[in-house]
Amino acid sequence: MTCVHLLLTLVFAVSLGTPVEIQRPRGVPLTSIQFYVENKPFTCLDGSRTISFDRVNDDYCDCKDGSDEPGTAACPNGSFHCTNAGYRPMFIPSSRINDGICDCCDTTDEYNSGAKCENTCKELGRKEREVLQKMAEITKEGFLLKQHLIEEAKKGQQEKQSKVTDMQGNKKQLDEKVEVLRTVKETAEQPEKEAKERHLKAWEEQKAAIRLEKDKAKMAEAFLELDDNADGFVSVSELQSHAELDADADGTLTETEAQGLMGGAEQVDTSTFESVWPNIKDKYHSEVSREEADMSCLVSSEVPFGQKVFFLEKTVVKLSAQKARDDFEEAEKALREMDDQIRNIEKELSFDFGPDAEFTYLYSQCYELTTGEYIYRLCPFNRVSQKPKYGGSETNLGTWGSWSGPENNKYLLMKYDHGTGCWQGPNRSTTVKLTCGKETVVTSTSEPSRCEYLIEFTTPAVCQEPANTDLSPHDHEEL
């Protein structure tokens, strides 16, 4: 059976330099000492039962909450308090008592395991103070820098805000200007348009007249062709020789059908043929087929002529219209550019740059870190990428997603996601962990899980206001 120490006499040096003896069961913090009164029945801290005091720290677990064994490993859920004079006190799970591993720097957890522990509290305390001091310096300087950043950001923000306001004012004017120019342009374009319409109309008329003339010539020709006996009349029988005029498509043009085409007349002269012609001209096959060619020849030769007329006319109106158009386009372009500018600034202003806009300065910057194999590039609020050092294409490790730190301070982590997909895996993503530093630097990169990257990044922007001057955090009641 293990040897069991019920009580422990602890000697402490307190700040006044007077040694004070405090008796209490092993593993009990001073704050709980009132529950462990020697030779009085002990009630488990959860109140579940009361046991005689000799069962406290007797290396057998009697209380469900483990409170009867603060100094032994008997209870699965117990905890042991080490004072760690010179460093910071702490609780360890009671399973770490006498397990052969030194957990408390004051060695009190290994009182019966044979483990050779050395009291390292002073050393740890010293180191911790050093680290804290260094940290405090960094924090202090960083915090100062942060103030500048905040000021600059505020300034910048105001500038941008007023710029946007200005621009929005200017934009209004520009809007109006554009509208005016649009009217000017449209007015200037009116003659041009009219000329265009006029010429179009003339051209159409001209074409119709030509077409009419053609038709008449064709009709006269057809009359001559149909008038086989050249008696100056086209008769029913003469018409019947043109089977293509057959109306019921049975292949023959009967006498009745021919008569129908001729409006019931037996024969027609040139003038009455004019009323017959529309009935037959669509189907009529000339015996000498050249009209189409003539017609197209005629029409095509007409086009340059019409266009020429139009161009002539156009150059006249152009001088005034073109200028109006240019003025308008220029103004419109300026308006678009201004819109873009406003949108960009508004976008920037819409980013969450922290409670005091202290992260603003990172916007549109990029920071690189070169490792053994890769160059990592972090462009805050934009994207993260990785490029092989010795050539090869860039891989997107994620684009800006959101702040994703813990609830109490979401500005400690940035999340970039939807990067290039991994083979058989998810899309790459990156978490950027921000720590306080004087400089803005990527300090390390890693891939803790496949295609999930972690970038450590220092920036003054996360430096907290230094706690009030005192650098020794060990002023607990037990010193």
């Binding site: 007797d58 057998y60 397990d99 083979w423």
Partner: protein, 935 residues
């Protein structure tokens, strides 16, 4: 691991990329042969049951004290075989058949048997022209050799226990010269199948003349782009076994299949050929990473075993005359008194070697285990720490990562013993080295773990990067220890490091050299808390046929064909030997292997390879480890969480709950999966995982004692119910629950969203206690158990005593001196028995110096007594008995501890609702004699 991340493997050839890309999401069956694609299997399988052409030449019988020899003749081709029969100590019979005068020696597998098995005298009871009757000693067991046709029957009284060649499937392709150049006068027709040696000869004749020689793959065989030159031609062997009265056969791992083997009619036979199968499928007879050619047959009367000692590619056919029958049909047989007895027929087919079969006659399951153990050895007794929890991942990225994972366990108060490093830890996959950037200070890292009393495993695979600047490679080259290709040059293949050589582990000198590489001054950066993992030792060759080595590669004078299935065993053997040697023979090794063979149990642990994060894979881990346990390999586990893919949180939790109750308890994950350390799934799930890992640690004394028992007797640690309830037919097909030892029954939850399970509690008249609530349940019932995500149905057998260490710490080493709590679960007759084993947990002193404590704990007549099982042992422990829980007890008026002639009262509490008596702090040393009296 068998998968390559395209992005990571810049080194690999385009070839490999294509190979693996095409099989991205499931096994590509096309990469592996079916029986039809394996020419010998096809030839042999085409041979149907019938009259055997073999005849025993009784006049050639020679009988010495322990050995009978007899010639067999194939009446079709007149080739003589030599039959040897041995009666072995411990109720076994060995049957060897070889060519009487082979053209050159045929391969006989060395290094599997731990010694030449001791024999017992055989005597001839009677002999006539038809055969011989031999006595197998007591119990009226006889061995009958029938002459025409040749067959063997083993009988007990009037019952035939087992027959050989009763279906005439003995076939022996004898070695002969290739007859290409001879003219073929007959012009016989091509036949499609082998009929004993007769048709085989005809096939050969046919091939000579008609240019059909490649058709049957006799002298050359091509699979996909790989051609197997077969300079020795066809050499396959086959033999059938009939088991009257048997309906249940088990074993022949490794297959992702049910515990009870299925009949193979209409499908492929079960295949035994160690292969690196990428994303294996469940419930089929395809070969996997390891092979143990041992089958167990069981019925209510008897358990028997067949051990087919052959390391070449092997196929096993199983048929049954009752397999096709419905329950109704069986009932009808029963009612009508149908004369047809159930029978299972087995057929073994191997590509080469000889027939060397051990028939283990039981009759009890435990007898078969000890019989098999007497041949191939028992499970090595592992260091205690290796029974704790193992945290693995491909890969822990660097030393910082290892440190932060280690700290994570402490922060979340979860115990673990081993953290593992996969292939990325080495410098360019050069095993025995460390990545100079990521693991620049391995000793610092190992010391950090040692300070926490924890350990590490680093992978050492048997493929060696061909790189003249790499010490291991240049030494193997200069010592000429590499496997050779058919032309005699070093065999090279693609594996993780790119072009790789494969050390010839069949050479004893090579193994000795390999072992010497584990010396602390050779393996730089290693320390005594660094152990080893042998992966890819099938061997895996990415660009080889079926992702393994060419069969015509050479190990000295033997082709790889002959030794394939034992290569992995040799790798683990040499590695374990190295770990023993580095400590001067003092410390026990721990080596995990993926490939294995009969006898691998002597060298360490086995896991079920590259499984997947699917519920089906969780479920199959149970029959896979049960099958291994039945044939000697107790130290078995599956990758917790599943290797490929990402498990759901529920699956991960359920897998921890299952894995904590399986022998080898390791979480592992593929490189491409997201991180899954136990604390990454929210506090509730962290608590669930912590709880089950703690349950494992509390039970370590029981696990350890069971492994000691397995080491001593060959009894499997994790076992099917029928092993302990051999007459209860209900148990014969159960493989969704299992026993740990005899005393814990576990029914893991392996279904998604489970709200309840039905567990079968065996044993009429027995009782079982829920280990969490102590509620008592009767045996021989199906018990419905409602479950939540925190439930793990585990029951302790009434009649057992299980010692636990309920003070769980951050590693097993930290628990060394902690006290025990004894869980005494009373039988209905108020009786219980158990054992307690204690030693230093890591050295061989238990063996070499008898430094251990082995005690029998018995509860009878209201007294719990600890008595010494090993009076001449000496070991001192500071562990003591802090508590005794007696389940199913009644309230005593007084409890007294009797020790050294003195009596002292012991405080106690009694919980009448569950009938649990708790004895408070009796306090005796765990190694002492004592009695606790309940009065």
């Amino acid at each position: 691991m068998a998968v390559i991340s395209i992005e990571r493997m810049g080194l690999l050839s385009v070839f490999c990329v294509c190979l693996f890309f095409s099989s991205a999401f499931a096994v590509d069956r096309g990469n592996f042969k079916t029986c039809d694609q394996s020419s010998f299997c096809k030839r042999q399988r085409a041979l149907k049951p019938g009259q055997s052409p073999y005849r025993a030449l009784l006049e050639t019988l020679e009988l010495s004290d322990s050995r009978l020899t007899l010639q067999l003749i194939n009446d079709n081709n007149k080739v003589h075989l030599l039959l040897e029969l041995y009666r072995l100590q411990g109720n076994m019979t060995r049957v060897k058949i070889n060519e009487l005068k082979p053209l050159k020696p045929r391969f006989e597998v060395p290094d599997v048997l731990i010694a030449e098995p001791p024999t017992e005298p055989l005597s001839v009871l009677s002999k006539d022209d038809n055969g011989i009757v031999l006595s197998l000693g007591a119990e009226s067991q006889r061995l009958i050799v029938s002459a025409r046709p040749f067959r063997l029957d083993i009988m007990e009284g009037p019952e035939v226990l087992l027959s050989l060649n009763s279906r005439g499937l003995l076939a022996f392709e004898h070695l002969h010269l290739r007859k290409d150049t001879q003219a073929q006068p007959d012009g016989a027709e091509v036949k499609e199948s082998v009929d004993g040696d007769q048709q085989q000869d005809e096939v050969e004749k046919d091939e000579d003349g008609e240019g059909d020689k490649e058709q049957d793959g006799l002298w050359e065989e091509t699979f996909k782009s790989h051609t197997d030159t077969k300079p020795n031609g066809p050499t396959s062997i086959s033999l059938d076994f009939s088991l009257p009265g048997v309906e249940h056969v088990y074993g022949i791992p490794e297959h992702a299949d049910d515990l009870k083997l299925k009949t193979t009619d209409g499908g492929d036979p079960y295949r035994l050929y160690n292969l690196d199968v990428f994303q294996y499928e469940l419930y089929n007879p395809m070969a996997l990473y390891g092979s143990i050619p041992v089958m167990l047959a069981h019925n209510t009367q008897r358990t028997m075993g067949i051990f087919w000692l052959n390391a070449a590619e092997t196929w096993v056919d199983i048929s049954s005359n009752t397999a096709g029958k419905t329950v109704f049909g069986k009932m009808l047989d029963f009612v009508q008194g149908s004369s047809e007895k159930p029978q299972t027929d087995i057929r073994w087919i191997s590509e080469s070697g000889i027939i060397d079969v051990f028939i283990m006659l039981g009759p009890k399951p435990s007898d078969v285990f000890s019989q098999y153990a007497s041949l191939t050895g028992t499970q090595s007794f592992p260091p205690l720490a290796s029974l704790g929890y193992h945290q693995c991942r491909w890969n822990y990225n660097d030393q910082e990562d290892v440190k932060s994972v280690d700290q994570g366990f402490d922060q979340h108060d979860i115990p673990y013993d081993f953290i593992w490093l996969d292939i990325e830890h080495a410098d360019g996959k050069r095993y025995f080295t460390w990545d100079p950037h990521k693991f620049s200070q391995p000793k610092e890292m190992l010391q950090g773990l040692m300070d926490k009393r924890r350990k590490m495993v680093a992978i050492v695979d048997p493929h060696i990067k061909v790189d003249s600047g790499y010490k291991i490679h240049s030494e193997i080259t200069s010592k000429d220890f590499y496997v050779k290709n058919k032309d005699g040059r070093n065999y090279e293949g693609w594996c993780w490091p790119g072009n790789s050589g494969y050390p010839d582990f069949t050479i004893p000198e090579m193994r000795a050299w390999w072992a010497s590489m584990f010396a602390y001054d050779q393996y730089e950066g290693s320390m005594e808390n660094l152990f080893t993992w042998n992966d890819m030792n099938e061997p895996s060759v990415f660009n080889g046929p079926e992702v393994t080595m060419h069969k015509d590669a050479l190990h000295g004078k033997w082709e790889h064909r002959e030794i394939h299935n034992i290569y992995g065993l040799y790798v683990q053997m040499a590695t374990a030997e190295g770990q023993i040697q580095r400590s001067g023979g003092v410390e026990r090794p721990f080596v995990l292997t993926r490939a294995f063979f009969a006898g691998s149990q002597r060298f360490g642990a086995v896991w079920t390879g590259d499984n997947a994060a699917e519920w089906g894979h969780l479920k199959i881990s149970i029959p896979m480890c049960l099958s291994l346990g039945l044939v000697g390999v107790s130290f078995c586990g599956a990758d917790i969480g599943g290797f490929f893919k990402n498990p759901s949180t529920e699956l991960l939790v359920r897998w921890y709950q299952t894995g904590a109750y399986q022998p080898f308890f390791r979480a592992h994950a593929h490189l491409d999966t997201t991180r899954r350390e136990p604390w990454l799934f929210g506090p509730e799930n962290t608590a669930l995982i912590r709880e089950v890992i703690r349950q494992r640690y509390a039970l370590l004394p029981y696990w350890y004692q069971l492994f000691f028992q397995a080491y001593r007797t060959g009894m499997p640690v994790m076992r099917p119910l029928w092993v302990d309830y051999p007459k209860d037919t209900v148990t014969f097909t159960i493989d969704d629950e299992f026993l740990i030892g005899s005393d814990l029954l576990v029914h893991p939850i392996t279904e998604e969203g489970s709200r309840g399970v039905t567990a079968y509690l065996p044993g009429a008249g027995e009782v079982w206690y829920d280990v969490h609530t102590f509620q008592k349940h009767n045996g021989a019932q199906n018990l419905y158990i409602p479950v939540t995500l925190s439930s793990i149905p585990v029951f302790q057998r009434g009649g057992s005593i299980i010692p636990r260490k309920d003070r769980v710490r951050r590693s097993s080493a930290c628990m060394e001196n902690d006290p025990y709590t004894l869980y005494v679960a009373l039988s209905p007759k108020k009786f219980a028995r158990g054992k307690l084993y204690i030693d230093d947990g890591h050295s061989f002193n238990y063996d070499t110096k008898k430094e251990f404590i082995h005690r029998s704990l018995t509860f009878a007549n209201n007294a719990l007594t600890s008595s010494n099982l090993c009076p001449d042992c000496n070991f001192l422990t500071s562990s003591w008995i802090e508590k005794v829980l007696i389940l199913g007890a009644s309230k005593p008026s007084k409890v007294v501890l009797k020790m050294d002639g003195k009596e002292t009262p012991v405080d106690f509490e009694f919980d009448s609702s569950m009938s649990v008596l708790t004895l408070r702090k009796p306090g005796m040393n765990a190694g002492d004699d004592w009695t606790l009296l309940l009065q």
